[in-house]
């Protein structure tokens, strides 16, 4: 069972490393900056 848990933990780590690599590799600074600013420019008052 120890090996089972160890392998499971390593799979979790591999998944997280893949997410980090994907987020940093597949997204440009421009897209990230525009996404981060969404709440700051999302409305105008009318009436």
């Amino acid at each position: 069972m120890t090996y089972f848990i160890f392998i499971g933990d390593m799979l979790v780590m591999a998944f997280m490393v893949a997410v980090v690599v994907w987020v940093y590799w597949r997204t440009s600074d421009d897209v990230i900056n525009r996404s981060a600013r969404i709440p700051l420019d999302d409305e105008s008052t009318d009436g």
């Binding site: 069972m1 089972f4 848990i5 499971g8 933990d9 979790v12 998944f15 997280m16 997410v19 980090v20 987020v23 940093y24 997204t27 897209v31 990230i32 900056n33 525009r34 996404s35 981060a36 600013r37 969404i38 709440p39 700051l40 420019d41 999302d42 409305e43 105008s44 008052t45 009318d46 009436g47």
Partner: protein, 480 residues
């Protein structure tokens, strides 16, 4: 006529948000008042006056259901409806369905609360409501999902902002947990029996219970934080990339952590170890989120000194950091053997519930209500007094329960030379009166602050004019 109709379809639907916020405030006062009453009953048991409906066994589930499903879920629905329109640059999809969610949810809380007072109870913690309510909750939740995901589907901008990932995670995972955990065989209108029994029932129960904490009280409120913190600080989130990584890490690891509630119980040892390890891994996304939030405010110190909404949100992040450090530590078996079945757990839960959930909601409401009402907050001074009352109440509550819990754990583990208990359960509980008294004082402080919030925000809303808010010009033109 057509032009007017078309234009009105472009307005963000904020009226339903206002009503949900108002109900959330009402439930916060009622739920916390019931919590204070049951805390007082633990000091003065005669406060039930011999009435079954005033007994601890009926009022305690009423307290948890009203604060979690009334206060918290109404706040989450309100903020999800408010932010998803704005981050999608479109009004709500199916606004009539949003109104149905709002009204049906409040009716379910009223009827569900009365059923708990009447002693109708499914005997599953945080899922006490009987099967008719389970079905009603499922219907409302599906409608919530349709409105939320429908709005995202018709969005006018390509990225799905990170707050929507958290709100989306909340909606999907809570639906899954609620349906599986509520599977039961009804025998009468007010009684059913769970399809699970024994150890599997315990595992399903804490898979539900812990992930309700995870995806509702943590994930949902992180969605709130990722939208309202940048909004209030006037700065984008410090690291958007980190927020995405934290979302996936959070979602992937939280779902495994439930078995830490069942340490040293009749479930397989490896399941307990798995729950412990995944709880420890959770530290990484939790603290990544906290650091991301704190760094977002790092350039807005001047505003932090004067703005009560921002103060509440930043303080909530500090308590979020505290609670998400304490939780994994308590999941370690050698710590859990002291903390389990003691008031330490109650203190931990309230450091999250009062310090994180309530504080971030209060901060969000102090920002949101003046915007919805189209006027300044009625009294900044009252909001500042509320801030200090809430902080004092939370700290006193946590310290009292830490003292009580650690004492209980150590005294219960204390054995004499032949291995018999040094102290009886009755003697130990008898010595808890000072801690429980302090908890009552903490509850009075926190509830007093919440009453100030209710007065302040309802005065702000009083005589409210209709504020029409539309998407930014470019998106509006595209929609037209």
């Amino acid at each position: 006529m057509n032009t007017t109709a078309t234009k009105s379809n472009l307005y963000y639907h904020d009226r339903v948000v206002t009503v949900l916020v108002a109900w959330s405030i009402v439930w916060s006062v009622l739920g916390m008042a019931v919590g204070l009453y049951v805390a007082a009953e633990l000091v003065w048991p005669q406060l039930d006056f011999g009435y079954p409906w005033l007994s601890y066994g009926r009022l305690r589930p009423l307290h948890t259901n009203v604060v979690v499903f009334g206060f918290a879920v109404s706040a989450l629905m309100a903020t999800a409806f408010y932010s998803v329109q704005r981050t999608s640059h479109v009004p709500l999809f199916a606004p009539a369905l949003a109104w149905f969610c709002c009204i049906a949810w409040q009716l379910a809380i009223v009827a569900g609360g009365l059923s708990l007072l009447a002693g109708i109870n499914a005997s599953k913690e945080y899922a006490e409501l009987e099967w008719p309510f389970d079905i009603a909750i499922t219907i409302v939740w599906v409608c919530f999902a349709i409105v939320f995901f429908g709005t995202i589907a018709k969005r006018k901008i390509q990225p799905i902002y990170v707050s929507n990932w958290f709100y989306g995670g909340l909606i999907i995972v809570i639906a899954m947990l609620h349906i599986v955990n509520s599977l039961a065989m009804p025998v009468t209108l007010t009684k059913s029996y769970s399809l699970f029994a024994g150890a599997p029932d315990a595992i399903v129960q804490w898979w539900y219970g812990h992930n309700a904490v995870g995806f509702l009280l943590t994930g949902g409120f992180l969605g709130m934080m990722y939208y309202f913190l940048p909004k209030q600080a006037g700065r984008p989130i410090w690291s958007y990339r980190l927020s995405i990584v934290a979302f996936w890490a959070f979602t992937y690891s939280y779902i495994w952590a439930g078995p830490h509630h069942l340490h040293f119980n009749a479930i397989p040892d490896w399941v307990q170890s798995l729950g412990m390890v995944m709880s420890l891994i959770l530290l990484a996304p939790s603290w990544a989120t906290m650091i991301n939030g704190i760094m977002t405010v790092s350039g807005a110190h001047a505003k932090l000194k004067t703005d009560p909404a921002l103060k509440f949100i930043v303080l909530s992040l500090a308590f979020y950091g505290l609670a998400t450090f304490e939780g994994p530590m308590m999941a370690i078996k050698s710590v859990n053997i002291v903390s389990h079945f003691t008031d330490w757990t109650i203190g931990h839960v309230h450091s999250g519930a009062l310090g994180w959930n309530a504080m971030i909601t209060f901060g969000t409401f102090y920002f949101l209500v003046p915007k919805l009402a189209g006027r300044d907050l009625y009294s900044v001074k009252l909001a500042n007094i509320h801030f200090w009352l809430a902080l004092a109440g939370t700290m006193l509550y946590i310290l009292a329960m830490w003292g009580a819990g650690v004492s209980q754990g150590l005294l219960w583990l204390s054995l004499d030379e032949i291995g018999e208990l040094n102290f009886s359960f009755k003697d130990i509980m008898g010595s808890m009166a000072p801690y429980y008294g302090l908890r009552v004082v903490a509850g009075v402080l926190f509830l007093s602050g919440t009453l100030l919030l209710a007065f302040n925000l309802f005065k702000t809303l009083q005589g409210q004019k209709v504020v029409r808010v539309v998407p930014p010009p470019v998106a509006a033109m595209e929609a037209a």
